[in-house]
Amino acid sequence: MPMVEVAGKSFEVDEEGYLTNLADWTKEIADYLAKEEKVEMSESHWEVVNFLREYYEEYQIAPAVRVLTKAVAKKLGPDKGNNKYLYELFPYGPAKQACKIAGLPKPTGCI
């Protein structure tokens, strides 16, 4: 497995760059993974990333994008729980990119 180094510590990621061990995750690692994804983290990005970590904590899975959108709408309101908003934040797919930054595994059903 490949290793990445962040702030002097090294972490294992899978061949697609997803963090192998969820417990390794820190804000610094999130910043690093975001940079790799060419995403500049704003407060809105963090809101989604934190939401995903809470979702994972509760359900032990990374949600499919359709499910994420619906869950965000429920928690943060319809102006955020829609494809347009989420894809503007994470152009290569909110489930895929935001999950990676949140240190979660790739969503089930994503090939």
């Binding site: 032990q60 899975i61 994008v65 359709r66 499910v67 494809n83 489930a95 969503p107 059903g109 994503c110």
Partner: protein
Amino acid sequence: MSDMMDDMDGGEGVVKKFMFVNRKAPHGTVYALEGLEVVLISAAFDQDVSMVFTDDGVYELIKGMNTKGIEVKDFSKTYRALEGYDIEKLYVEKESMDARGLTEDDLIVDVTVLDSGEMASLMAEQDVVISF
């Protein structure tokens, strides 16, 4: 894949009745987790999906699971995510529950309890039955 599936929404797809039957205890074999993942993926295809828990499969839904001692992931919480995936038809077999001294209160999700006769009729209505 899920991203792509969303873009394909709106097609005139054929909706079939899929039933996923879970018969095994959650840990020890990979069937329960694999079965759950198949169900989560199936949700992307807008089909009529139901899940059945029978025999030792009812143990998959036990509340308050703790897998620390056997060092495997506790995926029992994931059954609670099924609702968000629009998979709301969860059935358990009454005889399997009774034989193990379980009631609905022991389970982590809301289910419909059917006796084996009712379960058999429900299975007969399905287009596809897949057993794990």
